[in-house]
């Protein structure tokens, strides 16, 4: 056995070449983030002298202390991002599970129609402008949390993942048995199906949580009031306006202009990037497995 494996594996130089290529690419993927972390703890003097560098002259937590000082808008955005992510993910999961479960049921009379109803939207859509007009004028979505959450509630891709998961892990006899025992449809779903579908639910939940956390386009379209800015959009605003945070904090007049003049703006922006990425980077090793299974299901069956 051992010998056969040896015969049928690639030669040592080839394997080394593989390692080199893959290591280089992995570095490309991870080094920018490390670099940004380093910049965020570099002192403004060092940045002025030698620019952004992997080996700063002086380490300083200045940027993070400014983050605390300029709190208002920042905490508000952090809170907005969390709220939108938690609430949005919960609603997305609920609606996706309900929809996918009904589509999974072979004895559902309108199964064909509702399957088409959801999946046709993957092939054809109104496009950006009509969707924007409908959301703004018909549904009145602007300047509210609803305006960020509602436009991305459902996604046919998630429904496919969930339905495929039901198909592969729930035997139909289970539903028949529950029906014979007199359990209602909702009771069957919430008491029997959901508890045994945790991996599928985790996949859909994580995919939508990431989508909400990373969203900046929808706030850009529908939100004008800084009160509702999520972190990502705040960060985008700061590409051009670094003093945005100061303007939106409670400080006024001399105090504000004083702060603007001493602001470690470069490090501060990078500190915000770190604050956005850290929740993802921390959770990532744990949730990666679920995401991989979900994405492979969705794209192969879709």
């Amino acid at each position: 056995m051992k010998r056969k494996r040896k015969v049928n594996s690639i030669s040592i130089p080839a394997e080394i070449a593989c390692h080199v290529v893959l290591i280089l690419f992995c570095l490309l993927c991870i080094v920018p983030f490390i670099f940004v972390v380093i910049i965020s703890i570099t002192s403004q003097d060092s940045i002025r002298a030698i620019g952004y560098s992997f080996f700063p002259k002086e380490i300083s937590m200045e940027a993070y202390s400014y983050v605390l000082k300029l709190g208002d808008q920042l905490w508000r955005s952090y809170f907005n991002s969390f709220l939108v992510t938690v609430l949005g993910t919960f609603l997305t999961m609920l609606m996706t599970i309900l929809y996918a479960y009904a589509l999974y049921r072979k004895d559902f009379r309108f199964r064909g129609f509702f399957t088409f109803w959801a999946f046709f939207t993957m092939l054809f859509g109104g496009g950006l402008a009509p969707t924007y007009v409908v959301c703004k004028t018909v549904l009145g979505l602007s300047n509210s949390y609803a305006a960020i959450i509602v436009p991305m509630l459902l996604n046919p891709f998630n429904i496919i993942v969930m339905r495929t998961f039901f198909h592969s892990s729930i035997p139909e006899e289970l539903i028949d048995a529950a029906a014979i025992d007199g359990a209602g449809e909702y009771k069957t779903l919430f008491k029997i199906i959901i508890p045994i579908s945790k991996p599928g639910i985790a996949t859909v939940g994580l995919l939508s949580a990431l989508a909400y956390w990373n969203e900046w386009f929808i706030p850009m379209l529908y939100v004008r009031d800084a009160k509702y800015y999520p972190l990502q959009y705040l960060l985008m605003q700061m590409q051009t306006k670094v003093d945005f945070l100061v303007k939106n904090s409670s400080m006024i007049g001399a105090e504000a202009s004083n702060i603007i003049s001493t602001l470690p703006s470069d490090a501060l922006r990078m500190a915000l990037v770190v604050l956005i990425v850290v929740p993802i980077a921390c959770g990532y090793p744990f949730f990666q497995r679920y995401i991989v299974s979900g994405l492979t299901i969705g794209s192969v069956k879709g």
């Binding site: 992995c26 959301c135 990502q232």
Partner: protein
């Protein structure tokens, strides 16, 4: 089952799909009806500006909106960029992702392969806004790593955000950086699903590793390659808005290299609030995508009956 029970079941299951079905109606089907806007000269009706009033009081304009799409000086730029980048990235993405997947599969230490996979997949979870800051750390004109390096070594610095000629490369790297991890994992999943006895049989027949890859792995990946290819070709007239909008910091002097149809439509909609024209653009994208998907599917079907999508 009694008639009453079956009726009750239908009712309950219908209530389950109802919230989702209503959502699809309001946010997907209603905008489809809004496609009429592409043929109208959309104006806000000042007396009572509801959607319906705006729609009915706007004049018909025939295909004028579509003509405008092709008549501006930017038309050629955004059409060339959209299709050019997509075509290049479909090919590059496919070749590199399959190569990486095969490499990952051949590595003897599974733990090491797993680690590579985890690191490669990481950028997929970041937004383009975050990625734009990553890039800024390297390319910033005053503080960026690369320009500092150039100056320190007696070279002229490069004004990255005002020099379009570098951006085809930069955008390509960014796109691969973010998406290769994901597609390699898809292909890797397909490779691990291949029956190992095929390799054993090939090895006994004296096939070298290269021959095995060429005659066993690739043919087994073919259905998956075809499906992803068809879907990507269907999106050939759609661009990743975030990549083209945030990564070049929406810099006007880069438009010749970075303007694609999605950013163009967005600009038309927000800067000039020409709803009719941007609707026409969206409709065009949809129509081109649909035609491309059908053609790609036909071609794949001609070559390999089983690998086609429909």
């Amino acid at each position: 089952m009694s008639k009453k029970a079956s009726f009750k079941k239908t009712i309950f299951l219908t209530t389950m799909v109802l919230p989702g079905a209503i959502w699809f109606f309001l946010l997907r089907y209603l905008p489809m009806a809004g496609i009429i806007l592409a043929f109208k000269n959309y104006k806000v009706y000042p007396k009572n500006p509801t959607f319906w009033n705006n729609l009915t009081h706007s004049e018909w304009s025939g295909i004028k909106n579509f003509k405008f799409l092709f008549a501006t000086t930017d038309s050629w730029t955004y059409i060339r960029n959209t299709i050019g980048y997509n075509a290049l990235w479909i090919v590059l993405g496919l070749v590199i992702a399959v190569a990486f997947a095969i490499m990952l599969n051949e590595i003897t230490h599974k733990f090491v392969a797993k680690t590579y996979q985890t690191l490669m997949f990481f950028p997929y979870f970041l937004s383009w806004v975050v990625a734009s800051y990553f890039l800024l750390a390297f390319l910033d004109p005053t503080r960026g790593l690369i320009d500092h390096f150039l100056v320190n070594h007696g070279m002229n610095k490069i004004d990255w955000y005002n020099t379009p000629k570098y951006w085809p490369f930069i955008l390509t790297i960014c796109n691969l950086w973010k998406n290769i991890g994901y597609s390699s994992i898809l292909y890797l999943a397909a490779i691990t699903g291949i029956d190992t006895s095929q390799y054993e049989a090939a090895a006994i027949d004296g096939a070298s590793k290269w021959q095995q890859i060429w005659y066993v792995t690739i043919p087994n990946l073919r259905p998956m390659i075809c499906i992803l290819l068809i879907m990507n070709v269907g999106k050939i007239f759609n661009a990743d808005f975030g990549l083209f909008y945030t990564v070049p910091l929406d810099s006007g002097s880069l438009y010749s290299a970075t303007m694609v149809i999605d950013t163009y439509i967005y600009q038309v909609m927000t800067a000039t609030s020409n709803i009719g024209m941007s609707t026409a653009g969206g409709l065009l994208q949809n129509a081109v995508g649909f035609v491309c998907i059908v053609i790609a599917n036909k071609i794949v079907k001609k070559i390999d009956e089983d690998s086609s999508l429909f």
